[in-house]
Structures are given as C-alpha cells and as structure tokens.
C-alpha cells in the first residue's frame, strides 16, 4: 500500500472481477449467490448455439443472468421513479434531462431487432468467435472498458448507469456517469470537432426524430461485454426520439450498423432509456486511478490478437 492508501492487491482483484464480468460498471453489484455461475462464463445450460458455437439468441445470456440474480438486473441498485418526479421538457425536440437504460443488459447480440441472424462477414464472425471462446476458456481479452478508454456508443449507452443531456442551438452533449464518458453531437456539421474514439457525430432533425450519423472511429469497438463487435470502418446511424409509453417517458434509439468489414449488410437494433430525473447527480467514476497505474490493468486479461 502506498502513502495515499491505494491498496494495489484489492484494486487488482476488483478490476479483474469486474472486467471479467462486463467492465468496471459491475463493481457495485452484490456478490453472486454461492454456487452461482459467474456472469461472463459459459452460455447458460440449454442455450442454443449455432453451427460455429455462437449463441443464436439475443437474450439467452441476459435471461440466464436475471434468473441467477433473481430480480430485474438493472433495478437492483435503483429504486423506482417517485410519483411526483418532474416531467421532461414538453418540446419533443428538447431531450434535456437524465435518462437511464433500465432494461436488462444484453450480453451478446446475434440477431437484429427483427429477429434475423446478424449478417457476419468471415472476418466479423472470426472476431466474435475468438471473443466468445476467450470467455468460455476463462481468458477474456482486454478492451476499451478495461482501460477506461471511451468504449464506443454501444457499450457506453447499454450499461445500466445514467446520462444527462444538455443541448444548445448547435450542440447536444451527453454526459455519462460511467467512464465519465461524453458524447458530443454537432447539429451543425461545420462546427463538429475532429473524430475520436466516439467518432464524429453530426445530426439533423427528421420531424421530431434526431438522426445522428457517426463515423471516423479511432478503433473498432465492442458492442457488448461478450464480444459482439464492429470495426472502425463503421458508419453508425442513431434515430432518437422522445416517446411516452404508459405513464413513462423514454428516449427511444434505433441503432443502424453499417460496417462492411464485419457485416455483409446494414442491420439495426433498438434500445430505450427511461426518464430518471432522480439520477441527475452522478456517482464518481474515477477509473484512471486504477487503469492509469503502471500495474493497473492486470495480466489476467489478455491482449486480443489482431489477426
């Protein structure tokens, strides 16, 4: 232990445990019941596999995890929204406020939102097969989450931690609790900043739907914690609108993946993010304390081959 009280051993243990599961966000989950399979392990008994051994159903692993944990996975840490909570801004083009992915985490994506198997190229299938095998063998790979590098839109939005939206005439800025992530969306292409890990996002309105187009990604990205992937050649389109379902407000997002390196044709999936003004104030996510240390990212996670 150094002078400032950083316990290297406990830090490593926490990091390994969480990364093997799904990244640092899981650090706050309660321990699994004795004898329960660890999330991120082999597919649940009875899960269907296709001819190459990849799970064929989107939800198999998520459902298995929910069964193990015995409750709605995301809401374990979060009480329901209070009845007197404020409403979102009435303007359908104003997305400001706090939103939260409270649905179960999808651990692996094999089908699009219409139930059609993903159209992998041989290269795309090879990458995801490699990652599934690495987890099955108990030797998962390092990824952006492990380093606390910006993870890409998919992982950033999916994990069950809130984000705040601020917007002005030319800018929409999404601030995430997790990884202290930021996604900036230029509403004027001429004012968009250079591309980064999160690419370069430019948006326009189609009625009350914001159409966000992002490209120029610095690295390929993991879509999910079990290795669903996109290459850096991705062109991502997100169609975002504010909708009310029953008495709940959501931001609905339809993601369209156009990545000719890993997929033979574009495909889409959908998510919704619940209105949660009670989550506006974030918990601190200071992950570089661990990952920026010389021995911060433990060798229990292996560097992923690139060929």
């Amino acid at each position: 232990m150094n002078r400032r009280g950083t316990n290297s051993a406990s830090s490593k243990f926490a990091l390994i445990a969480t990364l093997v599961c799904m990244g640092p966000a899981m650090a706050q989950l309660p321990a699994l019941p004795p004898g329960a399979a660890r999330p991120g392990g082999p597919p649940a008994a009875g899960a269907q596999l296709d001819s190459s051994g990849l799970p064929t159903e989107n939800m198999d692993d998520s459902e298995a995890m929910r069964a193990r944990l015995g409750a709605n996975f995301a809401n374990i840490m979060r009480p329901p929204l209070q009845a007197d909570a404020p409403e979102p801004p009435p303007d359908p083009r104003n997305f400001e406020g706090t939103w939260y992915h409270e649905d179960s985490l999808v651990m692996y994506m094999a089908r699009d939102m219409f139930g059609i198997p993903l159209p992998f190229t041989p290269e795309g299938r090879k990458v995801v097969q490699r990652r599934v095998d690495s987890i099955r063998n108990g030797k998962p790979y390092l990824n952006a989450s492990a380093y606390c590098i910006p993870t890409g839109q998919f992982w950033q939005f999916d994990l069950n931690m809130p984000f705040n939206v601020h917007q002005s005439e030319n800018l929409m800025e999404l601030q995430f609790e997790e990884y202290h992530g930021i996604i900036t969306i230029a509403l004027d292409a001429a004012k968009a900043p250079p591309a980064g890990y999160m690419g370069r996002s430019v948006a326009h309105w189609d009625g009350d739907t914001l159409v966000v187009e992002t490209s120029g990604f610095k690295e390929g990205m993991w879509l999910t914690s079990r290795g669903s992937s996109v290459s850096k050649d991705l062109k991502l389109t997100q169609r975002i609108r504010k909708v009310k379902t029953g008495n709940r407000w959501y931001l609905e997002m339809i993601y369209t993946i156009d990545d000719p390196t890993y997929y033979t044709q574009p495909w889409s999936y959908a998510r919704r993010y619940a209105w949660r003004p009670d989550m506006t104030l974030f918990r601190e996510y200071n992950c570089e304390v661990q990952t920026g240390a010389k021995d911060g990212v433990d060798a229990s996670l292996l560097p992923e081959p690139t060929n």
């Binding site: 150094n2 002078r3 400032r4 009280g5 950083t6 706050q28 840490m77 979060r78 009480p79 209070q82 909570a85 400001e96 390092l142 380093y147 606390c148 590098i149 910006p150 705040n164 601020h166 002005s168 030319n170 800018l171 800025e173 601030q175 202290h180 992530g181 930021i182 900036t184 230029a186 004012k191 968009a192 900043p193 250079p194 980064g196 890990y197 999160m198 690295e219 390929g220 003004p277 009670d278 989550m279 506006t280 104030l281 974030f282 918990r283 601190e284 200071n286 570089e288 304390v289 990952t291 920026g292 240390a293 010389k294 911060g296 990212v297 560097p303 992923e304 081959p305 690139t306 060929n307």
Partner: protein, 251 residues
Amino acid sequence: MVCTRYLYRYALMLYLAMSGGVLTQQSIAAEPMTLEGTWKLSTPQTAFKPDGGSIPFTQKGRQRYKEDKRLQAQRKLDEYDYATARCASPGLPRLMITPERFRIWQRPSVVTIRFEWNRLIRQIDTGGLIAQKRVGQGNGGPNDEALVGRAVPISQGKWEGDTLLVTTEGFSDNTLIDDLVPHGYDMKLTERIRLRDQDTLEDRITIEDPEYFTKPWRTVVTYTRQPDEIFPESVCLDSVNLEHWPPGKGQ
C-alpha cells in the same frame, strides 16, 4: 392644457421608469445570473495564490508540503500526485485551475461544469436534490457519510444576489489542492462564483482544513470568456504508455 399634458406624460414616464426599475430588481432577485458559456483561466497557474501571501500550514501540513516538494524534485510523481501520474481526476479545487477550457451548463436544479480536459464534469446542486433524497447512494448526500470521499464531491449551491455560493465537503485525501499543497478528508471549500463583467468569471475560494491549515485561507481565480465551440474528445490515457493499448500493440 399643453402643460398639463406634458406633466401627465412626464408622470407616466416616471412611473414606468420606476416600476420598470422595480421589476428589473425583482427579476434579478428571482432569476439568478447566467454563468453559462465557455471559460478559460485568465492567467495560467498551477498553484493557488493565497490572499496575504502565504498558506497558514499546520505543522503536519508543512511537513507534507515539504515532502511533496522533495518527491517532485525526485520526479516521483506517482508517490505524491498520482492523479497527474495516472490521468485520474485532480479533484477540487485543483480542477478549477485546469489550463484547458470548461463549459458551464446552468439549469434550475443543477449547474454543471464540463471540463475539456479528460471529459470530467463537476455538478453543483442548486435545487436541493440531495436534501430531497432524489439521489441514490454514492452521491455525497447525507446517507453517504460512511462511504469514502470523492475527488470531486457533489457541491451544494445557492444564489445570493448575483453570486452563486457553493460549498463542498466529503473529500477523499487522495488529491492535492494544487500541484503541491496537501489536504485531508475534512477539507471544506466555500466558493463565491459570479460574473465580474460579461466576459470575466470570478471564483473566490475559501479553503478550510484544520488538519493541514491553522485557519481558513482565501484565493481568487478569474476566467475569460471563450467562443462557444464543441470540445474535441480528450483522453488523457492516450498520453500514458499503457502496456497493451491500443489493440495490437507489441504483436
């Protein structure tokens, strides 16, 4: 008649001017000043300049400060300032002298300071969200006393005229006040943030920590308004030589 008409007009103008003035004053009282915009330190600085010229260290505070200077001279950054060594959050109040820009988003319940450097944010609760228990554990609220402190706790703010009065407690002891000055768990910050003029933001900071300072000490920092531009993605870890990042490194 003409004279009467002029008198009437004058009286009306006087009334409107006076009532307008009253309305304006009421508006100022009811609606806080907007601090929104993009700001940058007026003068780059890595240390706070205390009013009165010196920091009132306790014996322990002075020892730690000297030790930090010794480690700095030996370039053992990770032993006294691991926030800088590891790209971790520098914490408060040090974030307020980051050399890069920051943008203020001011909303009725929360003022958010979004720093360009490494995508950090600071949140100031101006709507009583913590008091209303509208936040979960880990936010620095009253239920969190037993939890570890934070580099950047949630601050509590209230408007006093044109000044945002901000108090912050609940720190960890893992960060420095600036590039050398230490603090402990019990540090308390009181800040008075206001527009000195439309293009100058002022933050008058009072620092208290009886473990390290014999009395509260004060400093003033000013910022100059910048054009509103979208910040590029900032990833400090890109400047650190991580063993296996980016993917494919060493293969």
